[in-house]
Amino acid sequence: MVVEEGCYGGKILTIDLSTKEGKRQKIGDSFALKYLGGDGFGAYFMNTVVSPKADALGDENAIILAPGLFVGTPVPTGGKTSFFAKSPLTGGWGEGVMGGRIGFALKQAGYDCLIITGKAEKPSYLHICDDEVKVKSAEHLWGKSTRETSEEIKKDEGSVIVATIGIGGENLVRYAVIDCEERQAGRGGLGAVMGSKNLKAIAIEGNKDIKVADPEKMMSLLDKWYNEMINHPSFEADGKYGTGEFLEWMNTERGTFPTRNWREGVFDERKEIDPYYWAPRYAIKNKACIQCTKPCGKAFVIKGSYEGMLDGVEYETLFALGSNCGNASIEALAKANELCDLYGIDTISAGGAIGFAMDLYENGILSKEEVGMELHFGDGDAVVSMVEKIARREGIGDILAEGVKKAAEKIGKGADKYAVHVRGMEPPAYDVRAIKGMGLAFMTSPRGACHLRSGAYALELTGKFWKYEGVDRLSAENKGKEIADMENFMAVYDALGVCKFSRSIFLLEAFGDLLEATIGKRMGEDELLIIGERICNLKHIFNIKCGWKKEDVKLPAKIREPIPEGVSKGSFISEKEEKKMLQDYFMARGWDKKGLPTKEKLKELEIEEFMQ
C-alpha cells in the first residue's frame, strides 16, 4: 500500500497539446517500487511514450516532468524534480533536474508524473489546478523573460508555481532551459522542446495534502537529519561561498579548472571570480531549493558597470562564462549569467559555445566580419553581448545556438578541432585530462558530457567516497566499475529527488529509514542500487533506440593535448586509455563489446521488454 499510504500523488497525468485532451492513469505499488519516482518514472515513460525516431523539435517528442519520491515530504534536500525529453542538442536522452517548486506543486495536485505530448496551435501555457487542466493562450507572454512570464501568470492565476521558457526556448536554442523560480532544468535543450510545442509555461496549483506513511517517525528523522546537515562541514562552506567554494582548490591544488576553451587547466586571472572575493561583496543572502536545509545558492546583486540580480553564480557558470572565456570580470560574468537565466539558456553550453567562438576567432577561423565584433579571450563585455546574440539567434549567435558540434560542422575550416563536446554536449568544469575517471563519465553519461550523472568528480579528486578508497585521478585503470557504480548510486538520488550535495551525508544507508517513514517500505543499499542500475540501463536503451553507437562516444580532440601548466601539467587521456576505460565500463555493466546490454542483464533487471 505504498502509493495509497505514502507520499505519492497516485496518478500520472498526460496532456496532448494538439487535441487538448487529458488522461489520468493510476499508479500501482509494483510500479512505484520498481521505479521509485523522478528519474525512475522518467526512464520508464521516455521508453514508452517518446518515439526514438522523433525529431527532437517536432510534435512527436514529449516533455515529461517527474518529482522525485521524497518531493513534498520533510526529507531535507529531497525537493528535486526531473524534466525529460529527447534532446535537441544530442539527439538522445535528455534530462534536467531542478530544485524549483514545480514538482512539489504537481504532487500536491495529485500527480507523480506529467507527460505533455503534441503541439499547441498557438503560444499557450498549461494551467493545472488540482483536477482541472486547461490549455490557455500565451500569446501575450511570447517574447517575455522567464521572470516576467512567471510574474504575469501569477497575477492572472493567483497562487500557482510556474515553470517557463524564455526567448531562448522560443527561438529553439538547442540548449535552452526550463526555469522555475530561478532554478533550471538546465542541460540538453529541454526549453527548446517546450518552445517547439508552442508551450511557454506550465503553471500548477496543488492544494492536496501530501501524506507520509509514518508521521511520527518522519518528524524524528527530520530532527536527526536536520542536525546532521547543519553540523556538516559543507554547511558552512556552501552557506558562505556556494558551489564555487572549491574553485581555488580545483585551480591550484588540482590544476583541473578548464580555461580558455580547454587550452589550460589553470586560470591565472581568477581572483575576482572566486566566491571568496565576490560573495562578501555581492551576495546578500543564501537562496535555497525547496526542502533544503543546506542552501548553496546566493542572492547576488550586481553593482558597478552592470546592474542586475540573480540566484548564483554557480561553480559551473564561473567556469563557463568565466575561465572558459578567459573572463575575469565578476560583474560581466554575473550579468551574462542573469541574461542566460532571463532568456532561458544553459550557462554551461552558452559558455562552451562562446569560448569555442573566441578560440576560432583567435585562430583566424572566424573573422571580425563574421562575428560582427572583436571576440578575444578575456573580454567580459563580449561574453555579455554574445549571450544576447545566441538567445536572439542574431548573426553568429544563430550558429552558436546550435551547440558547438553542429556549429563546427556549419563553420567548417577545421573548427571541429576546437569544438569541446561529448555526443554534442558541452562539458562542465572538470578538466578530465587529469581526472581520468571523469573522462569516462563524460563518455558514458546518457545525456552527453555531464558531471552529475556519476558525480564521480568528488571521488576522483579526493581519492575516496562511499566504498572507494585510494582512487588515482591520473590513472585510467579500474575506472569502469567505479563509474558504473557511481552512476547507479546517483540514479537512486535522482529517483528519490535528493540533492547530490547531500551524498556524503546520506550515502544510501539513510534512505532505508527515510523510505520507511515516507512510503512504509524500507529498502537497503543493494535493493536501491538495483533500481539505480535499472534506471541507467533504461536511459541507455533509449539512447540505443535513438541511434547511439560506440563509435560516436569519444572525448574531444583537446583532451589529447597535455595540460600545459599547473600541478597536472603533462596529463592527458590517450586514445588507448579512452578505449580501455570504455571497454572496462561495458564489462562492468554486463554489456557486450559494442556497448549493447545483454539479454541476461536486462532479464536480471526485469526490463527485457524495452529492448525489442
Binding site: 507520499c7 501530501i210 508521521p215 536536520y226 537562496k287 525547496i290 546583486v301
Partner: protein, 134 residues
Amino acid sequence: MHDSMYVKVIPEKCCGCMVCEIVCSMYHWDVVNPNRSAIRVEKKSVVEDIQHVCTHGKECNFECVDACKFEAMIKKNGMAVVDYEKCTGCKACEKACPIHAVWIFEKKAYKCDLCNGETMCVKHCSQNALEIVR
C-alpha cells in the same frame, strides 16, 4: 507560558526553502500542505523572500479575535488560538489581521499557536531567519 512570546521574522536571512511551511503543517496536521501552514513565505523577487507569521499582539490588537462572530478565535495565554469545533471558515479573521498572518483553507482558519512552545519553524530554520522573542 506563552505570554508575550512570538516568532520574529528576519527576511534578510530567509533563503526561501519553505522548510518552515513544511514542518508547520507536518507537526500540526501530520501531512505536508503549505495551505495548512501557519507561517508562509512570500517570494517577492529573486533576492526578496518574506515570511509572514502571527506575532500575537506585538503588531496588532487581536483584531482576529474581535472579528470572529463564532467565538472560534479565542485569546488564551496571550495568544489568539482557533477553536476548530467552532470555526466556520468565514474569513473574517483573515480579513481583519493587519499583518496578513491568518489564512483560511477548506473552511478552517490557520494561524500560529507556537507549537506548545516547541516553535518547529524556528527549530528547523537553517538560516536563523526566525527567532523566538520573549
